[in-house]
Symmetry: C2
Subunit: 412 residues, 2 copies
C-alpha cells in the first residue's frame, strides 16, 4: 500500500509542478492564473489607489492565496483585508503583518485566534456594530490584557451588518471610548449592499454619509487611534468611493483605505460588467482590468451531435452564472494553437460535468482538423472569482507559453 | 513572525481538535457530522444492498473523506466509487484498494495517475463510451505495458455521457475485445440523468435496458473479466435499480453494484425528498436515512428588527437551495439546550454571510431568555451534501454531547 504521508499535499485535485506544460503534463481540470494580466491588474489597481490618495488593502478572501498577497504587498498594498479570524491567521502566518478584518469578530474561539495574532505582533483591525458585540470583546480582551483596534461599521437600512445611522455610530463610539480594551480606529462601510433605482447616486450618497460620520467622530474626539482610517469599497464601485474620499479632502484626520478584491484576477462575468461601467464613468482611466483566471478542462464525451460533455463541474468553477468557453486546444499541442469555440455554450453544470452545446457547424464532430475531439482542452471563464478560487487547493500560475511557473497553494 | 510550517495544516478554516466542545472551543463556522445518524445510515444502506443481493460501492466524491470511506468499507462496502483520477489516487493512498471510477479516463496526465495506482496494486475500473477514448487508452496503457479494466457506459438520448443504444455498446465491446490493453469488465449506467413525464417508469425501463445490454454482451462472450459487473444508481433512485437488478436474476454472470453516495450523511433538501418518495414506494423498508451533516455558525449582527446576519456563506455550505436553520444554542451553554428557530428563514446568502429573516415574535431581539443574541450559534441544514463537504478541509465528527470525537480531513 501507498505510504501516504510524504504525498499528502498532492493528494487532492491535480499535481501541477513548476515547469509542467498545461496542455500535456497537468492533470485536468486545473485552475489557472495567467501571469501577464495578473501583473497588469496588480499594477493598475495600485496606481488607481495612489492617484486618488488612497491606501489599498485588497480583500484577501477572494483568493486566500498567500503568493498573491505577497504580490499585492510588493506592489505597494498597505495591508490585506480578510473576512474571518481563520483567514487572518492564514494570512499572518504567511507574512501579512497588517490585517483589516472587514467583519465583526464573534465567538470566543475566534477571539482567541485574534488575541494570538495581536500577541505575535499583527497590526489587526476588525469592525463592530453593536453594544452586545462590544461587551463581548471587552470581556474577552480585558481578560487577555490586550487592546483591540476596532472600526465602527456604518451600514444602510435593508443592508447587511452595520449601524443604521450616524446616531447609532456616535452612541457606539461613546461606549467604546469608555472601554480600555478597545481602541476606536475609524469607520468602515461596504457599499456593495447599497441598493436603489439609481445605484450610482445611492453609492455616492452612502460614501458621503461615511465621510460625515467619520468627521462627526473626529469632531467629538472619539477616535483614539493616532492613525485613523475610513474604509469602504468592494470590486464594483471602488471608483465612486475613491472619488468621494478624494473630494472630501479628509486631510490628516483619516487615511482612506480601499478594499477591492476581485481586481487581482478580474472575471468574465459580473465584474467585467462592473468594470465596463467604471470605464464609462471614468474614460480617462487607462486600459482597464483584464481577466486572468481560467479553468482548463477536457472534453470527455461527444455522445450526440452538437453536445460535448466536459470534465468540469460545480466542484471546479464558480457557478453563480454558467461558465463561458473561451478557447480550445488539442492535448499535447506544442504550438498551443487556440482552436475556436464560437457558438459554444454551457447549458448545464453538474458536480463534475459540464454540458456544452456546440455551434451548429459542429453538429457532426469528427477528427477533421480543428473539429472537436474527445480529449480536447477547453479554457473556461467564470463570473465572480471568489467562488472559483475556493474550489482549489492549488492554483497554476502560467506564462504565455502555458507553462506552470508557480504552484500557488490556497488556504480556505 | 510566525513559524508557519508546523501549523500549516491548521491554517485554513477552523482548528477543531478531538475533545473540543462545539459550542465553546471550535472556531465557527464549522462543518459537523453527527455520529448517531451517520452510524445509522452506514448500516441502513449496507443492509439495503445485501437484502437485494447487490454490492455497495458508495460514491466517494460526495465526501472525499477517507475516514468515512473506512467506515463504509468496515460496514461491508465492496469498494469506493469515485469521479476522477485524482480522487482515486486520494482514496487509494488512504487504504481503498478497489476503485470504481464511474467516469471516462481522459488525458495522459490522468492516465499516468491511474497507471501508477494499477502498478501499486489497485483493483481499478473506469468507464468508456467512445472509440476515440478507447484508442487513447489503448495507446497509453500499451506503452505502459498495463491492462485496464473498463466498463462500457450506456447512457440515454438527451442524457450525459454514455453510448446511446445497445448497438453502440456492442460495437464498442467488439473494439475493446480486439485490444490487449483493455479488459471489458461489464456495463455501467447512471439513472440520475434519465428524464420523462413518469420518471419512476423511465428509470425502471432504463434499468432493464442495462440488464439487456449486459446480457447481450455476455451472450456474445465479449466480457473478458472473470467477475463481470453491472452497476448503476445515484442517491435518488437506488431502490428501483436494486429491484430491477434483483428481479433480473443476473445469477453468476453479473455482480450488481450500487453506487449511492449521499446516503452517508443524507441531507435536508433534495435527498430528503427523494428518500420520502422511496419510503412511499417501499413502505416495508425500515426507518430510513437520517440527516447527519450540519454547519454551525454564529449570529454576527442583529442590525434591524426581524433580521439576523449570520457568519455563514457560500464558502461554507451548499447553496443549490438556501440553507435551513434547524436549531440554535447559546455560546458556551454547558447544557447544550436547543433554542427555537421556528419561522426563521434564510433569504439571501453571500460569500461569507447569511441573511436570516426571524419569526415575527422576534422582531424585537433582546437579551430576554431565549431571545436571539449576537453570538448565538445556529445549526443549518443544506440540500445536496456533495456541495457542502467540498467547502471544508476538515469536518468535525461529534457525539450527542456535541463534543468533537474526530477531526476528519477531506481531499478535494
Amino acid at each position: 500500500m501507498y505510504d501516504d504521508r510524504p504525498h499528502l499535499e498532492a493528494l487532492e485535485k491535480g499535481t501541477p509542478q513548476t515547469g509542467n506544460r498545461l496542455l500535456a503534463d497537468v492533470s485536468l481540470p486545473a485552475a489557472v492564473v495567467h501571469e501577464a494580466p495578473l501583473a497588469h491588474n496588480l499594477a493598475w489597481m495600485q496606481r488607481f489607489c495612489e492617484s486618488h490618495g488612497a491606501r489599498l488593502a485588497p480583500h484577501g478572501k477572494t483568493t486566500m492565496c498567500p503568493s498573491l498577497f505577497q504580490r499585492q504587498l510588493a506592489e505597494g498594498a498597505w495591508g490585506i483585508t480578510l473576512a474571518t479570524a481563520s483567514q487572518c491567521r492564514a494570512a499572518f502566518a504567511h507574512g501579512v503583518q497588517r490585517l483589516l478584518m472587514a467583519n465583526q469578530l464573534i465567538g470566543e474561539a475566534n477571539m482567541a485566534i485574534v488575541a494570538e495574532l495581536i500577541e505575535a505582533g499583527a497590526d489587526f483591525y476588525c469592525v463592530v456594530d453593536s453594544v452586545a458585540n462590544v461587551d463581548q470583546l471587552v470581556r474577552y480582551f480585558t481578560a487577555r490584557d490586550l487592546r483591540l483596534q476596532v472600526l465602527i461599521e456604518l451600514g444602510v437600512p435593508g443592508g447587511r451588518c452595520g449601524c443604521r445611522d450616524t446616531d447609532e455610530v456616535m452612541a457606539l463610539a461613546e461606549r467604546i471610548d469608555s472601554e480600555q480594551a478597545l481602541v476606536l480606529a475609524g469607520l468602515e462601510g461596504y457599499e456593495g449592499v447599497v441598493h436603489g433605482n439609481d445605484p450610482e447616486r445611492a453609492v455616492r450618497a452612502y460614501a458621503w454619509q461615511l465621510v460625515e460620520a467619520a468627521q462627526a467622530l473626529d469632531k467629538d474626539a472619539l477616535i483614539e487611534s493616532p492613525e485613523p482610517l475610513i474604509t469602504a469599497s468592494g470590486s464594483a464601485w471602488y471608483d465612486l468611493i475613491a472619488e468621494v474620499f478624494r473630494e472630501a479632502r479628509l486631510g490628516p484626520q483619516f487615511a482612506p483605505v480601499l478594499r477591492p478584491g476581485c481586481y487581482v484576477v478580474h472575471d468574465h462575468g459580473i465584474y467585467r460588467q462592473a468594470q465596463h461601467e467604471i470605464l464609462e464613468r471614468r474614460p480617462e482611466l487607462e486600459r482597464g482590468l483584464q481577466p486572468a483566471l481560467e479553468v482548463f478542462a477536457q472534453v470527455q464525451s461527444l455522445p450526440e451531435p452538437g453536445l460535448a460533455i466536459v470534465g468540469l463541474g460545480k466542484r471546479d468553477i464558480g457557478h453563480d452564472q454558467l461558465p463561458e468557453p473561451l478557447r480550445r486546444y488539442r492535448e499535447g499541442d506544442e504550438r498551443r494553437r487556440p482552436l475556436p469555440v464560437a457558438g459554444w455554450r454551457v447549458t448545464k453544470l453538474m458536480d463534475q460535468h459540464a454540458f456544452v452545446r456546440l455551434a451548429e457547424e459542429e453538429e457532426e464532430p469528427g477528427s477533421a482538423n480543428g473539429r472537436v475531439r474527445v480529449g480536447d482542452i477547453v479554457a473556461f471563464g467564470a463570473s465572480h472569482p471568489c467562488l472559483t478560487f475556493d474550489k482549489w487547493r492549488r492554483i497554476c500560475r502560467v506564462d504565455e507559453r502555458l507553462e506552470v511557473i508557480e504552484v500557488m497553494p490556497t488556504f480556505f
